[in-house]
């Protein structure tokens, strides 16, 4: 028999988005039959009373108090469950004086207090990030700056300062790095190895690192630069320093560069470093051209999978044989099941580069694609708009994250959109990514599965087959592992692709054939 337990937090206020997020996560905990968080108003207490769940403690709650009710399954440890729910609330708790324990209040005191510390991660509001980063650099610390909204002038000054001091200035807006086998911010647990990565793209570098791992290779260092590093103004200061560092690193045999195409003058500068590196350098400039890379003696990669394969091959590693995915044949099977009028692919992504790679694969087949991150303003879709034709949305873009957590942490917005897209009779396939690893949601697939089931139900009741395609970016060493998350998707009838590149190819073939 299930048991009900509850706590009341006096005068505690959460915004509705946080409350809903906590409630969703709490309902996903093992042993929880149902969990409910609400303010202690008379009407909410009335609902609980009707359900037979109103305890004396809840009865005493007032309108300004937060009620947390947990109905635990038979045999569950109710106290432990309640502690987990309270923990969720604590992690969501807004800043309040004296509530949070801060061990070190300044970068300088942290550096002084931790023997051997040589790197600071700056994740404060963008308005103060530059000042904190400058202090860290002046204290002799490398910097990884997760903060965004930092002025480009500050970025240039900080990178020049770091360069002069022989330090790294990774960022601003740098979300991924693996330094000495420690993943920082959003990163995956990959095997240590001989492939060094310098990247101006967060999920792009995550993808290359997990593919290298899957192919039997390992990562020596993954150095993030921040998305603006290869712009004309910043001039690739960090990427050049990163290449030089890896060229001098005895543990690195092969270097991989990941970025959107750089400004022409910066590309020239970067390729000069490629030529001088003295080691093989694989260059994946997303949507970039081969000619200049080859002329500089670099190894051009057209996609993320090719970048990883070339890197592993150049490192002399023979990994497990990988069966080539016949995207054309698989797409033909899907399209044969579609109803009249189902012709479009809708991509709903957490990772910007993963979105880019699939979107460009479809666009390169000569099809029109709409997106919130489209370079062509004629095909740009603002975040609040309904989908149109083949649509690819990056939910991690600023448009969607303004005032909300990144979808890799809180997938609620994307979950709503999945159900919405399923109701569109023109939709043939929904394509998704799930990003695992440090910093990400603890069970992104599990929290999305109810919406996937609902999407399929909506299509089925309308007499349509809805193809759901998903790629899980992660490794067997991540928690949860890529294997467990992929199995859960397959069990729900989702087609699971094995790389970002494969996802793009499959989406392209479905789009081509469905629209033919």
């Amino acid at each position: 028999m299930s048991t009900t337990t509850a706590v009341v937090r006096k005068n505690t206020y959460f915004d509705s988005v946080s409350l809903m997020s906590v409630s969703t996560k709490a309902n996903g905990l093992d042993g929880v039959e149902q969990a409910f968080t609400a303010m202690g108003t008379e009407m909410n207490k009335g609902v609980l009373e009707n359900l037979g769940l109103l305890t004396d403690e809840l009865r005493a709650a007032e309108s300004g108090d937060l009620m947390i009710v947990v109905v635990a399954a038979d045999g569950s440890d109710t106290e432990a469950l309640l502690a987990e729910v309270e923990d969720l609330l604590t992690r969501k708790a807004p800043a309040s004086a004296g509530a949070a324990e801060v061990t070190y209040r300044t970068v300088a005191s942290a550096a002084a207090g931790i023997e051997g510390a040589n790197l600071a991660v700056i994740a404060v509001n963008g308005a103060y990030a530059a000042r904190e980063a400058r202090k860290a650099l002046e204290s002799g610390l490398h910097v990884m700056m997760f903060s965004d909204n930092v002025a480009v002038e500050d970025e240039i000054a900080l990178k020049n300062l770091a360069h002069d001091k022989g330090l790294f200035m990774m960022g601003p807006d740098c979300g991924t790095a693996i330094i000495n086998n420690v993943a920082l911010c959003f990163g995956n647990k990959v095997r240590p190895g001989s492939v060094g990565i310098v990247a101006a793209s967060g999920t792009g570098s995550q993808e290359v690192s997990v593919r290298v791992h899957a192919l039997g290779g390992g990562v020596s260092q993954l150095i993030g630069t921040g998305g603006r590093d290869l712009s004309e103004r910043v001039g690739g200061i960090m990427m050049v320093d990163g290449i030089r560092a890896l060229a001098a690193d005895p543990a690195t045999d092969v270097i991989v560069l990941v970025s959107k195409p750089p400004a022409a003058s910066v590309e020239k500068k970067v390729l000069a470093e490629v030529a001088a590196a003295g080691k093989p350098v694989v260059v994946w400039f997303i949507d970039g051209s081969e000619e200049a890379v080859t002329a500089a003696g670099g190894h051009f990669a057209a996609d993320s999978l090719q970048a990883a394969r070339k890197a592993v091959e150049l490192a002399g590693i023979t990994g497990p044989a990988v069966e080539e995915f016949d995207a054309g044949a698989a797409a033909a099977e899907v399209v044969a099941r579609l109803a009249e009028g189902q012709k479009y692919v809708r991509g709903l992504f957490c990772g910007g580069t993963l979105c880019d790679e699939t979107m460009y694969a479809v666009r390169d087949a000569g099809l029109d694609v709409w997106s919130n991150i489209q370079k062509d303003p004629g095909f740009r879709l603002p975040a609040g708009s309904a989908s149109r034709g083949h649509t690819f949305l990056d939910f991690g873009d600023d448009d969607f994250t303004n005032g909300r957590p990144h979808p890799m942490i809180d997938p609620a917005l994307r979950i709503e959109r999945i159900v919405e897209e399923a109701g569109d009779p023109e939709v043939a396939a929904i394509v998704l990514d799930f990003v695992l690893g440090f910093g990400s949601h603890e069970d992104p697939v599990g929290t999305t599965l109810p919406a996937l089931r609902e999407a399929r139900r909506i299509a089925r009741e309308a007499g349509r087959h809805l193809e759901i395609v998903a790629y899980v970016l992660g490794t067997d060493l991540d928690t949860p592992s890529v294997v467990a998350q992929s199995d859960a998707l397959r069990a729900a009838g989702v087609t699971v692709t094995l790389s970002s590149t494969e996802t793009g190819r499959f989406a392209r073939e479905i789009a081509k054939k469905a629209q033919a």
């Binding site: 915004d15 409910f36 800043a95 308005a127 109701g423």
Partner: protein, 334 residues
């Protein structure tokens, strides 16, 4: 401890004109009520709840929009003191920080919303507007409140949604027949119902009472009834919701919602900021015969309201749609 704040004071960019008027002569000590990433709520010396919103937020009743990206960096906390003086508000922070955070209200743009009238619209226009808004809500509206339970929702959420629908039906029946007792029961069945800080039932009431508070409404008996009820039964909901409802009963709501009503009234948004989202790319919106809102504009305006909170936008619009339909019904065919 080191102070993370560089600037001596933060300018308030815009604010509710009525609130700015009040602040110009307000002296004394209040307190911080609650702190969120983008909003900090304060209690004035008289106990009135007011909001400090971050840059980019829409104007709203009892709200000041300050030139900050977010409040998280400022180490503010519930219960800390707030000093109100001429031209500025000083917020105490963590005891380790000596300097308070000062907000300068001088120079803030005063937002003085004017509630438009829907009375001049021709017969059928209100019902058509309600249908158009409801259609967009059905496709884009978040579930979890008046629009229905989310897929896979547990018994508690399902029970809340059932109670919301029961309360809504009771209230609308009361308003339709003019029975005050039934109307009161309907309000009390919704007040404070739902999980959020502004419960879904209150959001519905806000949308509905806004229609009733517009000039020329046939539901003009509802705002005073609601105000009376709030005066004696305000403890049935949260302080924030009580403040929002009290203002809505005077036709004063957030700029996004008021912008939508203005769009329905005039075919163009007035008294509201520019819409955050435009029409779909490549589709030039066609003017609607008869001067109603253009489809692209309406879509963008509704989506702006839907973006409020988690399910608040959908619940506000459910109330608005119910109010528009009731207004049309009470007007009759002529």
């Amino acid at each position: 401890m080191e102070d993370p704040i560089g600037a001596p004071s933060i300018p308030v960019l815009s604010g509710d004109g009525r609130l700015l008027d009040l602040l110009s002569s307000l002296r004394g000590t209040g307190s911080v009520h609650s702190v969120f990433t983008r909003v900090v709520n304060l209690l004035t010396p008289g106990g009135t709840l007011i909001a400090l919103a971050a840059r980019g937020s829409g104007d709203a009743p009892r709200t000041l929009v300050a030139d900050v990206a977010a409040w998280s960096a400022y180490q503010l906390g519930a219960g800390l003191g707030v000093t109100f003086a001429t031209g500025n508000i000083a917020l105490d922070r963590s005891p380790a920080l000596r300097r308070p955070l000062r907000l300068a209200t001088a120079g803030a743009r005063a937002w003085r919303p004017a509630a438009p009238s829907l009375a001049p619209l021709p017969p059928g226009a209100l019902a058509r507007a309600a249908d158009a808004v409801a259609r967009i809500c059905r496709v884009h509206g978040p579930l979890g409140g008046m629009l229905g339970a989310r897929p896979g929702a547990g018994p508690m959420e399902a029970a809340v949604v059932r109670a919301l629908h029961t309360g809504r039906d009771l209230l609308l029946a009361g308003l339709r027949t003019g029975e005050e007792e039934r109307t009161r029961d309907g309000v009390l069945a919704l007040l404070g119902l739902g999980p959020g800080l502004t419960p879904a039932g209150d959001d519905f009431l806000t949308g509905l009472v806004l229609v009733a508070a517009l000039p020329g409404s046939r539901l003009d008996g509802f705002p005073p009834l609601l105000r009376d009820l709030l005066a004696v039964r305000g403890d049935r909901t949260t302080a924030l919701s009580l403040a929002t409802l009290s203002e809505a009963a005077e036709g004063r709501v957030r700029s996004e919602l008021l912008g939508l009503v203005a769009l329905l009234a005039h075919g163009n948004p007035t008294g509201a900021g520019p819409a955050a989202t435009g029409p779909r790319p490549g589709t030039a919106p066609a003017a609607t015969p008869g001067g109603g809102p253009r489809p692209g504009e309406l879509h963008a305006s509704v989506r702006e309201v839907l973006a409020i909170g988690h399910s608040s936008g959908g619940d506000l619009l459910s109330g608005l749609v119910a109010g528009l339909r009731l207004e049309e019904e009470l007007r009759g065919p002529l």
